[in-house]
């Protein structure tokens, strides 16, 4: 400790150091890197299967699969569609379930809080990292799909769901819109994970609970007699991303999806704040 008087450091109003540190931890962790590999492998496996077995008949198999061989962009859409029920929510659940419970589990939470990091700020940083992670995963799947799809199947005409044909540039723009929409849906889902993560000190338990929620939500969504509650389910509007591939874009379901995402994000972030704000940290 020097006796020289140094001009004390004036903190900036908004510092991104903690967020950057958080992202380095998320994106540098071996477990997560393995997860990126799994997410990226789906478009690769689909591409290999199609290259070997040829394109299925229209209406056969998952959405967009039959169009992949006409334009490689559809490989990205087919992969996103295939990963949306389980793999993408699983990835978001793993990160969001770990957010607070993981730090509590290894005891680092008490050190962060005594640094001090204000609890609201910690939640905000954790949630920002979850949203960035969700976006990165969607873009990862899309990017692998685009690169591999264009390389293997080329840039033929893109036939939209409404039957219109557009060029590859317009197709790429539509794909970006889809990525943005799915990122928002998954980020909202991550708010549920953040909340669950404040309830426990067991990150794996939180992750399993959140994945279970996604699965149950999709099962309920598939039961026609429960249609009254469908629009309130967190996963209900996820598949509406197909509407972004019509000409003109059909905005009704997508707008409702965005509204649902915003409400889920706000409600569960607030719940996480209410729970974590006054919680005794005894781990």
């Amino acid at each position: 400790m020097s006796t020289v008087e140094v001009e004390p450091y004036r903190p900036r109003l908004v510092s991104t150091r903690l967020l950057r540190s958080e992202l380095r931890i998320i994106f540098g962790r071996a477990r997560n890197i393995a997860g990126f590999g799994v997410l990226a492998s789906v478009p690769i496996i689909v591409a290999i299967a199609l290259a070997l077995a040829g394109s299925p008949e229209a209406g056969d198999g998952p959405p967009f699969l039959s169009q992949v061989t006409s334009n490689g962009l559809f490989l990205a859409l087919a992969a996103l569609g295939a990963e949306l029920p389980l793999f993408l929510p699983l990835a978001v659940a793993a990160i969001s379930g770990d957010a607070i419970a993981g730090e509590a589990n290894i005891g680092t939470l008490r050190y962060l809080l005594t640094v001090p990091v204000q609890r609201t700020r910690l939640l905000a940083v954790k949630y920002a990292a979850i949203a960035i992670f969700a976006t990165a995963m969607v873009l990862l799947v899309a990017a692998v799909g685009v690169v591999l799809g264009l390389a293997l199947f080329g840039t033929g005409p893109v036939t939209l769901l409404s039957g219109t044909q557009v060029g590859t540039a317009e197709g790429l723009w539509r794909l970006l819109l889809v990525c943005g929409y799915l990122s928002a849906c998954l980020a909202a889902f991550g708010a549920i994970g953040l909340f669950v993560s404040t309830l426990t000190e067991q990150p794996i338990g939180a992750t399993i609970a959140v994945v279970g929620l996604a699965v149950v939500s999709q099962i309920l969504d598939a039961i026609a007699s429960l249609s009254a509650i469908h629009e309130y389910l967190p996963t209900h509007y996820w598949l509406a991303f197909g509407d972004l591939l019509r000409d003109p874009i059909s905005t009704e379901q997508v707008s409702r999806g965005m509204l649902s995402a915003a409400v889920y994000a706000a409600v569960f972030f607030a719940a996480a704040w209410a729970r974590f704000g006054g919680k005794d940290v005894s781990s």
Binding site: M1, R17, L18, R29, R110, L113, V115, D280
Partner: protein, 329 residues
């Protein structure tokens, strides 16, 4: 959020220094857990500015719960406290940057290196200057002797290395108050000596150290003040000197004629005369040990040994917390 922090930072500067001579003080601080168990029961801590305060007590006596409350990690059921003269937890934002702490052992990300873990904590500190981070982290690692192992993953650290990293984390910034929970736990004798020297150095710079421990030797060597916890109560609190003075020294004679010796002690007005292993002991009181020895010789008591003994800290401690040194339930 940001405005309030900026305001409190300014308030911290304008506040008169030394308005409160206590680095830590609490009034009626109580923690009752949900099961109804009272972990900390109405304690009034007073840790003077600049002291090295030994916070003693058997395992489970409430030391760690108290430290968690002081740091704002858990909310007291009742009572108030201040750190560095400011009320907590209201002023946590501008008090805690001046407080370094090690609570209930070190905890870090296992798959990150020691250095990366410190970078993480430094990044979390809004008051830490990012331009000096590398230098400050290097200095902190140096001070705890971890520079050579800084690149190793935390999971591969030994218990002693983990403990050192925990102390390094508390030293990332200049601190006015250090709250260290059993800092020498798991250290080898060399490491224990180093940490004690480090604590003395920190105290010499004017920092207050609140040191929770159950090692009495540690307290005798480095503490100026002690507080003793027992079953959630603060059963004693004073300067080490005052605590020592409050305990009476005993005089002891080793002889094979104890009855004769007892007679001499009683005639000279000593109190609590009683047989002791191999001889007789009594409270010295105001008597002069040299005169006692002369009186024993004069009356023909065969003296094999004679001495005056100060009560040591261990006896004091056991007297305050009970003989058993059991875990407090």
């Amino acid at each position: 959020m940001s405005t309030s922090t900026a305001e409190s930072a300014l308030a911290g500067v304008s506040e008169p220094a030394g308005a409160d001579p206590m680095a830590v003080s609490s009034a009626g601080l109580t923690k009752r857990f949900r099961g109804g168990q009272v972990a900390v029961d109405r304690i009034d801590l007073a840790v003077p500015d600049g002291s090295v305060f030994g916070f003693l007590g058997p395992n489970g006596s409430g030391k760690t719960t108290t430290m968690r409350m002081l740091l704002g990690l858990i909310r007291p059921t009742a009572g108030t406290h201040t750190l560095l003269g400011r009320p907590m937890p209201q002023r946590a934002g501008d008090v805690l940057p001046q407080v370094g702490s090690l609570v209930e052992g070190p905890a870090f990300h296992p798959y990150l290196s020691g250095r990366t873990n410190l970078q993480r904590l430094d990044a979390a500190d809004r008051y830490a200057d990012p331009r000096t981070a590398t230098a400050r982290i290097g200095t902190a690692l140096d001070r705890v002797g971890l520079a050579a192992a800084a690149g190793k993953r935390f999971r591969n650290y030994s218990l002693g290395m983990r403990q050192r990293l925990g102390i390094a984390a508390a030293l990332l910034q200049p601190r006015r108050l250090l709250m260290l929970d059993e800092p020498t736990n798991g250290l080898d004798p060399q490491g224990t000596r180093e940490v004690r020297t480090l604590i003395k150095e920190l105290a010499d710079t004017g920092a207050t150290v609140l040191l929770s421990t159950h090692l009495l030797a540690e307290v005798e060597q480095i503490c100026t003040h002690v507080g003793v916890m027992h079953r959630g109560r603060l059963v004693a609190q004073s300067s080490l000197g005052a605590l020592r003075a409050s305990t009476a020294p005993t005089v002891f004679v080793d002889t094979d004629r104890p009855a004769l010796a007892e007679g001499v002690f009683e005639r000279l007005g000593l109190r609590e005369v009683a047989p002791s292993t191999g001889g007789v002991a009594a409270l010295l009181g105001a008597a002069d040990p040299a005169a006692l020895a002369a009186a024993l010789v004069r009356d023909g008591v065969p003296i094999r040994g004679f001495g005056v003994r100060e009560a040591d800290l261990e006896e004091l401690f056991v007297g305050l917390t009970g003989e058993g040194f059991d875990v407090n339930g």
